[in-house]
Assembly symmetry: C3
């Protein structure tokens, strides 16, 4: 069940990478690379820092999902544009899922709760940051949207619930819902945190 | 023999990094850093993911080759420009070599063939991608050229030949030639894969 | 003592990351991420390459210092701009400290002196490079300032003194002073290495 969700999260992030490649008129193989780093960049960085084998090395299914998704995205006829609304919801779901799963994986590696929160947020957002850098853009999530913030709040909720000895499945579900709701609310009403004033 | 070729590949990629630094009017030490990340970035990332000691930590000769190459490129009088044709051929050779050697090294670490293909392509192209990002550009190889594609096809050929139980030396030579020929053909006739249509 | 200095260095680099975030009008959480990668990016990369646990995983105090510094920088009223002169001196101190500590840590992991020099410079400059890339800029230190050069000269001095069997504390102090003086001199008189001529 979690495994299926995880593959779904990878597929969603792979689509967002391949979409960015289309907008930049990359060639199909560039799209494949961008889909890959977006989908597994965050989790790979987390696993390197935790000194465990990156998840996709032990299980190539992740790579197959990425390749299939990228090809699908590339050949899809975009006559009338993509259903952005659906993509945004799916991406919000991926963010929520990756944050919680990243944190669980960090806690299994027996790091402190503070470090686990960092790892959860990193799993959620680092792939998208690498995608933006490779696309020649300042990462959007650093700039405008309530994106990393949604991930962080979810991670903090999970930490609080686990600290209160809640069952991990229940706590994970609540944390995921928190991130999902914050992100969807932000998308729906175009919310953003106030940006920092530029100094002189 | 392979060792000499490997050092040659490192030198070729270091030149391409130092050349990019010249075009951006970096200072000499910036050129050294850019030469270094271009030459060993891909292999370093591969070794980190495979959890083996990065190759240049165990053998500093790679660092000496990079330093010597960067200095040489920096002091070379560029009155009439560089012989781009020679550089392009050398770079194509480096790409072919790094792809095959990256894949061999991954297979020695006993990963699956799918993962080894990813590692081979990564060894071939990641250094150049980091170079482009540090130069403030969208990585060229994601955009226009039959570059990563040449690496991927070579890797797939090697996988197929090894699967057919061909001797690894012979298979490696054929795979390298494949990558080299595709890349040189693309350079000669300015080939490119069709880019993805921008949506909207 | 060294530990307090190290936390101070982390705080200084975190400020420089959060300042960059202000200039780019990032949101507060973007500032936190940028402060974090600037402060611990170089040391994290070094620890990954040396295959030791990243320093901030074993000791979350670094994360607390970063969070506190980022929040402080974000809420600080910038009516009349920051005291750049003080920031520049603090940053030069951080560079000197990180170079020497990075090199010590590499030598403890029993790498060769050449590799230790690379690790020292990397610890000093990589965080700032990642900050610049995430900010959408060609890393400044590759371009204009006697920055990486100051780090490299300090590392070479330390290597020479250790080779001459000087006590490591005394050698570290001299190396730090060397980097600090070169960098402060460059700032004071706006020195720069000659840049490389652009070829045709």
């Amino acid at each position: 069940m979690m495994y299926a969700l995880d593959l779904f999260g990878v597929a969603v992030f792979a689509i967002s990478g391949a979409m960015a490649a289309r907008q930049l008129q990359m060639d199909p193989f560039g799209a494949l690379i961008l889909a890959g780093v977006t989908a597994i960049g965050g989790g790979t960085l987390r696993d390197l820092l935790l000194d465990i084998t990156p998840f996709w090395i032990a299980d190539p299914n992740y790579l197959y999902v990425i390749a299939a998704t990228a090809i699908f995205t590339v050949i899809w006829p975009l006559k009338r544009g993509w259903p952005y609304r659906i993509l945004n919801v799916a991406d919000a779901f991926g963010l929520a899922l990756f944050t919680v799963m990243g944190m669980s994986r960090a806690l299994s590696a027996e790091v402190s709760m503070t470090v686990a929160i960092v790892m959860g947020v990193m799993t959620g957002v680092a792939g998208g940051m690498i995608r933006d850098v490779l696309s020649g853009q300042v990462p959007l999530i650093l700039r405008r949207e309530v994106y990393a913030t949604a991930s962080l709040v979810g991670a903090l909720v999970l930490a609080a619930l686990l600290h209160g000895n809640m069952d991990i499945k229940m706590a994970s579900a609540i944390a995921m819902l928190t991130t999902l709701l914050i992100r969807l609310t932000a998308i729906r009403w175009k919310l953003a945190l106030p940006t920092l004033n530029q100094h002189r």
